[in-house]
Symmetry: C2
Subunit: 393 residues, 2 copies
């Protein structure tokens, strides 16, 4: 086990009607001027935004609003938010929404105190020293951004989609998580979110670092809980308890609960970011296409951890042949994503009949270098092309 | 799943040589005057205390020392610490040791700002509003106090051993956890710690709250990881990675990672506290005696969760008969504690040939009421007596 720091200071307030505590929680974390960041109309139509504003007003907060954050959030919206922030001068950012909204708020949070352009942080040209504090009212469990120090933004000019990871300054102060708010999520969003959180776990689980038994067992437990409650949820979207389990899994999938002393992989995410940046597909759906392909490739080239996953999570009996078991596990996960979650598992099912694999692969390696490092398998351009091709089938 | 708040703001710094960061971490959390709390001679003899002081001095800290905290920490030591604190006026308490040392520091932390006697908090007569900040250099993984808001103190006059739980103010700011510091722990202390952390998980796992799949799977994962690495550790106490896994398990066993929306039990802990308060035995060893007896009783009266434990963690095949499987699981855990951990599993093996069960049981119910509530099974005096008697066999 490698040395590690685990720091997850967010106060998670989980359960029914918890959004009514938002004013009290903002006050507890010393907010007085709150900039509310949200996305499309659903937070407005459902009455959530009104309830949030009532609660904030009751705690004496001044407010301003940044609306219209879109999925796969973009740099131009961040700049619009920064302009608003510089005129309103908030001391707290409140995200009401899912990962895109939270990631946008995080970009504003670090950009606010910075003289240059906020994109410098995402381009790796500068490191943020401080950030405005953030709170979250979560409406879509998927990205895990409510508990992480990460933010991913797409550059609209270059089509580059990249992230920053600043756990010491960017983890939200609090995250209000009412599973009732997710009861009306359409199947597509529910399933994409589940695919995304499973990928967050697998990116950590797939690692060559030895002797990480506790992290492995926690990751396996999360995957088992997700799969058993997801099956119920696909049958009955109104199942509150299944929603609650899934919602919490989305958080701990990404707050490093199962990272713990290992070198993580993240090559599948890098490969998917090229797809969603170019074709603007849902990130979780893109992952459902890429991850099984990645696991099929891994079964051939570095089977051991995929075989462990197959044995402990996917119900594949140990045949003594790690490569065969790993491949069986990869295919079983692929079937499960398709048959149970109704996710696309090929480019065609994702709606991209003729993907420009050369373009994706070239951009990927231009951004990440000739070899994607990865804690489980370094991947050169030939390897990533082979995985993209496996995702065609 | 019930509503819940999860708040674990401690910065855990885990790995080799991490104790040398203690000065930097104290400074980060705005310490300037540090009161060091520690136990017996081992922190001194090993040179750890000196290394800690060198690091603190390098960060410009003023220091004072409270030495001599004993296992099963006592009120009189807390009062001695409070006296020292009122003269030194620290702005930070640093615990160097295990659970007893941390729990003593926590009692000082809440007592410091209080006009009355600190015991009021433990007697339930008052609630602490604030506490001095605490840091930890952990030397014994067991109590989980480095990540919890709990503190348990024994009253030397009344022999009452009780705890407070104040997660919002009593969780340490940081916990430095170097598994190397635990390599020299004698087998008895290692095994007692493992028994204690397993009990912390089981007290949470054993709950009648339905629909807590994710918490169950996390708890089961922790137990599996503990059992597989504990087996290695009993063979080879110098196994760094096994020590590292166990050390982290001790923390997350008790920082509520696996609590999550359920009513916990804690009746076994209450029953054990009577034993260690009267006979001054090691808490974890007392739990190894009580817990299997409790599970045997539970197998007869509320089998379902013990059966799930038996199936998912203890390798008992599902026979379709929950009661039989639960009993088989209870007995298998009892054998494992005895044969693998070399723990006592009866009063006699604990060195108490003729325990005064009437005295223990009377004190227990005087303290806790006619019926111990418990999230899994309420226990009246007849039930607890039956469990104490099962612990004779």
């Amino acid at each position: 086990m490698n040395n590690f720091t685990f720091y997850s200071p967010t106060e998670f307030v989980v359960g029914k009607e918890t959004e009514n505590q938002v004013g009290t929680l903002c006050a507890k974390y010393e907010a007085t001027r709150v900039m509310i960041v949200y996305g499309g109309g659903s937070a407005v139509r459902s009455g959530l935004l009104d309830r949030v504003k009532v609660s904030l007003a009751a705690s004496g907060m001044e407010m301003c609003e940044l609306a219209g954050v879109q999925p796969n959030p973009i740099d131009t919206k961040v700049r619009e938010g920064l302009e608003l922030a510089h005129s309103f001068r908030p001391d707290f950012l409140l995200s009401v929404g899912g990962g895109s909204v939270i990631d946008t708020a995080k970009a504003i949070a670090v950009g606010y105190h910075y003289e240059g352009d906020f994109w410098d942080f995402y381009a790796g040209k500068a490191k943020p020293a401080k950030a405005l504090p953030i709170g979250v009212v979560l409406t879509i469990p998927a990205a895990g951004s409510e508990g992480s120090g990460n933010s991913v933004i797409t550059n609209t000019k270059t089509h580059v989609k990249v992230g920053i990871r600043q756990p010491m300054i960017l983890r939200p102060k609090f995250a209000i998580m009412n599973p009732e708010l997710t009861l009306t999520l359409p199947e597509w969003q529910t399933a994409s979110g589940i695919s995304d959180m499973m990928a967050h776990i697998l990116e950590r689980y797939l690692s060559n670092t030895p002797e990480v038994q506790i992290g492995d067992r926690l990751a396996e437990g999360m995957l088992l809980a997700i799969m058993e409650t997801a099956e119920r949820l696909m049958e009955n979207p109104n199942d509150y308890d299944a929603r609650a389990n899934i919602m919490w899994c989305g958080t701990i999938a990404h707050n490093d609960t199962c990272s713990l002393g290992r070198v993580e992989d993240w090559n599948s995410h890098a490969m998917e970011h090229e797809i969603s940046a170019e074709y603007d597909v849902t990130h979780g759906a893109g992952l459902a296409v890429i991850f099984p392909a990645f696991l099929q490739y891994a079964a051939k080239h570095n089977a051991h951890k995929v075989a462990q996953l197959a044995h402990r999570v996917l119900g594949i009996a140990d045949s003594g042949n790690a490569e065969a078991d790993a491949l069986a596990g990869a295919l079983k996960l692929k079937s499960w994503l398709h048959d149970t979650l109704h996710m696309p598992v090929t480019f065609a099912q994702l709606g991209i009949e003729e993907p420009d694999l050369e373009l994706l692969n070239t951009r990927l390696h231009n951004l990440k270098g000739a070899i994607l490092p990865g804690g489980y398998m370094p991947l050169d351009a030939q390897a990533t092309m082979e995985i993209y091709k496996l995702a065609m089938e």
